[in-house]
Chain length 274, copies 4
């Protein structure tokens, strides 16, 4: 499986997010604490919204922990919206087009989990992608097809609704092919303004997902972390696992729910497939 | 576009094929003489039939001319059937799953050329692939979809017929989408025993393709080439461009034809899409 | 050999430098016009001074023309000082630690050319590097050893003097080993404020080197190039070969000379080894 | 640190060594049991003696567990002498020239451990390498310098003596620079006929090292392992950690000793630096 983090707030140097925390994503790439796989070394990706309309993306097939370009890039680039993802392949090839976050226009998408028996259902799911979007699929992962299903179902207009319909189709398609538990997922998506994150699985035993309490709480818990002192009050993180030991600074996102982060607000909603 | 060579005959050290000739495929990777692109540096691949049922494959995203592992591998491995291909991408990603030769079971396939406007026709063509074969598509190239269409249409039973039907479908599909000249191709495929090579294009102006005259003629033309002296009499090469200056040693394969190489025999047939 | 460009001026989007010009460095990576090698596909590098003291570096072993991360990075990052280099290896391995520009502290260094018979003189030259700097040598190229010799001889205090002494040592060492023409070079180095570029060779037949005339002249010659309209008046380029057809916009830097670019000023000096 | 295996015996398919055992080297690359690092994902290498004088080498910067070319190569190549190594970098770059086994002529060399404070002692140690060998150093690791010291001290004539002198120099040099415990090592080297393996560290607390008991014992312990049934009686393995659970099949090589494997014989000797 994988691990990811989604940041929104005042512009932050990417290395402050990826390298500085005690249990940073780069640390997790070698030794994840809560992941199904402890090693997430099958490539990684970063997406960030700089001063341009379209977010930048850096995808690499190296493990994050030994990639020098990631260290360089993240020491130079600041952004107010950052998605980062480390990958543990469940079978599909380790190649840049299979690295998250995936991008379409202004949208980014990343996924931890899997569509069960993907080879069996891949054709049916891919056929359900809008033919005008179909040529933009570049890789071979379940996660990217999932993204394109959400785009097909109106991600740009109604993200929770589009994801619910995509998950509904995945579950229906899986069951039609005899797959008992068709999906396992934590997903984050953003248009550069708002972040939507989902925690759901057919078995209702979803991978871990947390969001940060407000920055002032974090600051008091990590007084030695200079990064936190530079963050704006509305800075928020949604993460596969806490970036440090003080779990109190992090709230678990409940099973079968969606969190919508917009500025300082973080609203929880129930999530169910349609 | 790309360049390729297909060898059959007595076991030969792969480096004798890929590095030794004056205009070897590795030389062509940097300076092709007859190619549409002079540089074919977007990855490469080698497929070879060793002592096992299934051929081995080495795919790399580095240019062939600077890949040390290719040099090592080809200095160690001998084979009686070798396919090798250097790639100049026409847009799809440079990744191992897009490198030729593609493999399915005992079959290898490599292609120089393109399906025109592939993004436009990709969905229709991919849908025509047998659903049981569909999950085995790993990359994003036109060439691999072409291979899977040929497999769908019976490559294993009747290679020329299957390729003719695949090309027929590609042309029909292209024209339905307003593509005037849907395909440009030289293709080689083998089951490890026989090699079938095709030269065709909708415009009837196909990429170059040559086959070697018999080895004794080659030997007399390249007296200083020790490789040729070790080859069996039935050794044959089909190549995108001659491996040396003496073009007399090479016969051009005519437009719209198929050559079938089995042992010392090389039979030419007309080729037309069905 | 290689090709490089050195930019100084108002902050510019890196893609405007690397992709937009008709004969951009990325174009040159596949089809250099004036280079000894037409293909410079053995990796590349970019160094840029963003908002931090230390410049960022992106090094890749892929050819520049097909590297997606370069496209992404250069579409996001703006900088007022940019060094970029495409490599055609003269033998040493294609690896990130052999990609230019090399960095030490705030300094960047890039080189087109070669130290002749480098394996023969490498040990003596490396021994001449200051022992306190020695451990920072990471790669295996002549260019990096040359950089460390210049650092040893006081690059930070007197760049032209340090380079002259480094070249003097290289020539003396080469001749001691029977090398007639020990060096071929165009070199650029910068501390982020000033750029020094050198054109020299033992044979006095050095690789090409040009600098841009002032921006207003360039603008009138490339009226359709929007990039030029955004540049400050003091923007300057030093390049291995002109970025477009209008050579009049470019002045050749004479044999055996050094150009010092500081703000809008570009001063030419004679250069001779010490 | 790292993990390695050294095989000698009847020709064996490399995949039988690298993939088939329960705790194979590929498994160890993600989850080493006895290593200082559980993850050895910073590249790997295989060296094998095929039908040629010089062994072949495959070096990759990908983690072994996800490298498809390794799987292909090892499914095709058989050899009677195989060295394989997975790397966990202690700081030097992840690049092919830093991957073990290193090769010089017919000799292979691989190392688990480190020369302590290598940046401090690197220059002195490198200077001690025979000047005629010096230009052949390609990478930046301590392990390769160690190999070249052994070559300098007569590896080809007296391997145990040469390694003892190299270790003696490393310890003397380290201590002169204030390094208390200059070396930690398990090393294997071979000329393609005999394998010498060393276990030593300045602290006398060396990394684990085991050798297989004779094949008939192994067969009885792993009755379901078809690989073992194909091996000749003289097949021997020296490994960083046992390839399966039944430790009884493996004998620990004692601290400060050297094992010499030639045919079916495996002789233990004391090892001490000179």
């Amino acid at each position: 499986m994988c691990r990811w983090i989604a940041y929104s707030g005042s512009p932050v140097l990417i290395e402050d997010l990826l390298y500085k925390p005690a249990n940073s994503l780069v640390v997790q790439s070698k030794h994840s604490r809560l992941g199904v796989e402890t090693v997430n070394g099958d490539g990684f990706g970063v997406g960030w919204y700089g001063s341009h309309e379209t977010p930048g993306i850096y995808h690499s097939i190296e493990p994050a922990w030994n990639d020098r370009n990631l260290r360089e890039l993240s020491a130079q680039a600041s952004a107010g919206r950052v998605f980062a993802h480390i990958r543990a392949s469940t079978g599909s090839a380790v190649q840049q087009t299979n690295c998250h976050p995936f991008r379409h226009g202004r949208w980014l998408w990343m996924h931890n989990g899997a569509i069960a028996n993907f080879p069996t259902v891949k054709r049916d799911l891919t056929l359900a992608v809008d033919p005008s979007l179909y040529p933009d699929i570049e890789g071979s992962t379940d996660s990217e097809v999932f993204f394109f299903l959400a785009l097909t179902f109106g991600l740009a207009e109604d993200p929770p609704g589009a994801v619910a319909r995509a998950v509904g189709l995945i579950e229906e398609t899986g069951r039609r092919h005899g797959v008992e538990l068709p999906i396992q997922m934590t997903v984050a998506t953003t248009d550069g303004e708002t972040t939507w994150a989902f925690r759901y699985s057919s078995a209702r035993q979803s991978r871990s997902l947390f969001h940060s309490t407000d920055v002032s709480t974090l600051r008091s818990q990590y007084p030695d972390n200079p990064v936190l002192h530079d963050l704006s009050k509305d800075a928020r993180l949604v993460v596969s696992e806490p970036l440090g030991d003080l779990r109190g600074a992090w709230q678990e996102i409940p099973e079968s729910s969606c969190i919508i982060v917009r500025g300082a607000r973080a609203d929880l909603h129930d999530f169910a497939p349609v």
